[in-house]
């Protein structure tokens, strides 16, 4: 089972640290990442650049609208994501409970991945059927409409 762990941090904790403390903290995080990789729990993960670098795209007035931000008022922001392979929620919780950033005031939101394979298969079947129907209709477009769709 895949779990996506969203890591939230508060700037103030990191900012208060001395340079050495910051280095030690980073080391502890990297060591833990490597541990997860070795044990086969690590599927992937990325750290995010600060919120100041974020860009938001949404649809407004019929066209994509691009804005700077978002600059939410919350003190906590998403600092990184990690994708874990774990037997169940208890294992995922146990793994994330040992993450060094928790002691730095960080929090993790653990979300199970959603299995969309059935939806994807449905969608593929639907699109294939649409294509077949379109192919059936094409040769008849100049003549009289048929009483019933012809099957191939």
């Amino acid at each position: 089972m895949k779990y996506i762990c969203l890591g939230y941090i508060e700037d103030k904790y990191f900012g208060q640290l001395t340079e050495k403390e910051q280095r030690d903290f980073m080391d502890a995080c990297f060591v833990y990442d490597e541990e997860l990789q070795r044990s086969g729990h690590w599927i992937g993960g990325e750290a995010l650049q600060p919120v100041a670098t974020a860009t938001t795209v949404r649809f407004r007035d019929g066209k994509p609208q691009i804005t700077d931000g978002p600059f939410a008022e919350t003190k906590e922001f998403l600092g990184g994501i990690m994708i874990l392979e774990a037997a169940d929620l208890n294992e995922a919780i146990a793994l994330m409970s040992n993450h060094p950033s928790l002691k730095m005031g960080g929090t993790f939101e653990i979300r199970p991945s959603a299995d969309l394979s059935a939806l994807v298969a449905d969608s593929q079947r639907r699109r294939a059927a649409d294509r077949h129907r379109a192919a059936d209709r094409r040769p008849l477009s100049s003549g009289a409409p048929p009483a019933a769709p012809r099957r191939r």
């Binding site: 037997a87 169940d88 929620l89 208890n90 294992e91 653990i110 979300r111 199970p112 059935a118």
Partner: protein, 394 residues
């Protein structure tokens, strides 16, 4: 049986339906063919087969044929199951229902429904909710268990203390909900205190740690006073004014034995210490004969584990009983400066009572007034008003 089927089938709803179908099959077959030697195993096996049938039928409807395979979790013959693993299944069920990833309300609802076997309607009535919104809560919890894959297992030794704490909290919440229910409605309410004590006994059988024994003892000792703690109008009677001949001797006996066992283990936590305090009260013939120094000492130990303003307030009241009202008042005044108890009506009620005992009627009256402004519960209001009136009549 439900606990075992949930383990075998890996799904609460599937297991509930399976058990239902197994009972229906038993009603048809047992009168004709006789009751099987191991009725429980028969029901579990039958339920399991009915569920597998259902999975296959559904699979045929929903997915292409090649996707059908026997789920791995269905392996093993449940008829061969040992008594020990039946107990394990019940523990698994309790820990899953009380998992901290579920909301506290959902834990209570799931425990009452899946472990105690109450119906949705009964739970809804007990918590003064509509059955629809309670059912919603249960559906959401089950879906989280399924989708986030909360495992059906007893936590390992590292997680156990923390997780057991969550379980005990659910049991104590259920107990208190039943214990503080007003008497007028108790007739129509499922007796939650009884359910909590039953759960406590089950846990004490399955996992007899000190705190499990301590919590059960605490509930038994509280329960022993149930008949004495309200008057015929449903008004509260304080411990010191209760008719102790109405306390239930059997519940006290069991409570005392369990609290002693918990204390002897040397692993006692907050529940055991609270039970020990209740035990000292239970052993006293009158309020005056209570071993107050012992109670103060137990509150001290409790404060070491769980520093809280409410416990400090209770300790101050015990000190007042040991050393006199002036000593208690001095402590309470200091508490008022350190902790924010300005919204807590018992703080002012306790203060008023100590002023009354010192003969300072005016100060007592003012404190009763503050307490009355803070309470919203009708029985508490009546109690305070009665006390205040008695003061004025003197």
């Amino acid at each position: 049986m439900l606990a075992t089927l949930i383990r075998l089938l890996g799904d609460f709803d599937l297991a509930e339906d399976a058990l239902h179908e197994a009972f229906r099959a038993a009603m048809e077959q047992w009168p004709k063919e006789g009751i099987p030697a191991n009725a429980r195993a028969w029901l579990v096996s039958t339920g399991r087969f009915k569920a597998i049938d259902r999975i296959r039928r559904q699979a045929r409807l929903d997915t292409p044929l090649e996707a059908i395979e026997e789920p791995g979790s269905l392996a093993g013959d449940p008829a061969r199951q040992e008594e020990e693993s039946i107990q394990d299944d019940r523990l698994r069920l309790i820990f899953t229902c009380c998992h901290p990833a579920l909301s506290p309300e959902a834990r209570t609802a799931m425990t009452l429904r899946e472990v105690c076997g109450l119906t949705t309607e009964e739970i809804a009535r007990a918590y003064l909710m509509t059955p629809a919104s309670l059912a919603q809560r249960i559906v959401r919890a089950k879906s989280k268990i399924r989708e986030a894959k909360i495992p059906y297992e007893v936590p390992g030794p590292r997680e156990l203390p923390e997780r057991l704490h969550a379980v005990l909290q659910v049991v104590y919440l259920v107990f208190n909900e039943g214990y503080s229910a007003s008497s007028g409605e108790s007739v129509t309410r499922v007796d939650l205190s009884d359910e909590a004590i039953r759960l406590g006994r089950l846990l004490a059988d399955l996992l007899p740690t000190a705190e499990v024994q301590g919590l059960l003892a605490l509930m038994l000792l509280h329960e022993s006073r149930r008949m004495a703690r309200t008057d015929p109008h449903g008004d509260v009677i304080l411990l010191e004014d209760q008719d102790r001949s109405r306390w239930h001797p059997d519940l006290i006996g069991e409570g005392l034995a369990r609290v002693e066992a918990a204390l002897r283990s040397g692993q006692s936590g907050p529940y055991t210490l609270q039970a020990a305090i209740a035990a000292v009260h239970a052993e006293a013939k009158t309020a005056e004969q209570t071993d107050w120094p012992q109670i103060v000492a137990l509150y001290d130990r409790l404060l070491d584990l769980e520093p809280s303003p409410v416990i400090r307030l209770n300790r101050a009241v015990a000190v007042a009983m040991r050393d006199g009202p002036a000593a208690g008042l001095a402590l309470i005044d200091r508490l008022g400066g350190e902790d924010d108890l300005s919204g807590y009506f018992w703080f002012f009620a306790a203060k008023a009572d100590l002023y009354r005992r010192l003969g300072e009627a005016e100060a007592a009256d003012a404190a009763y007034q503050r307490a009355l402004e803070l309470t919203r519960l009708e029985p508490e209001r009546r109690y305070l008003q009665k006390r205040r009136n008695a003061l004025r009549e003197k």
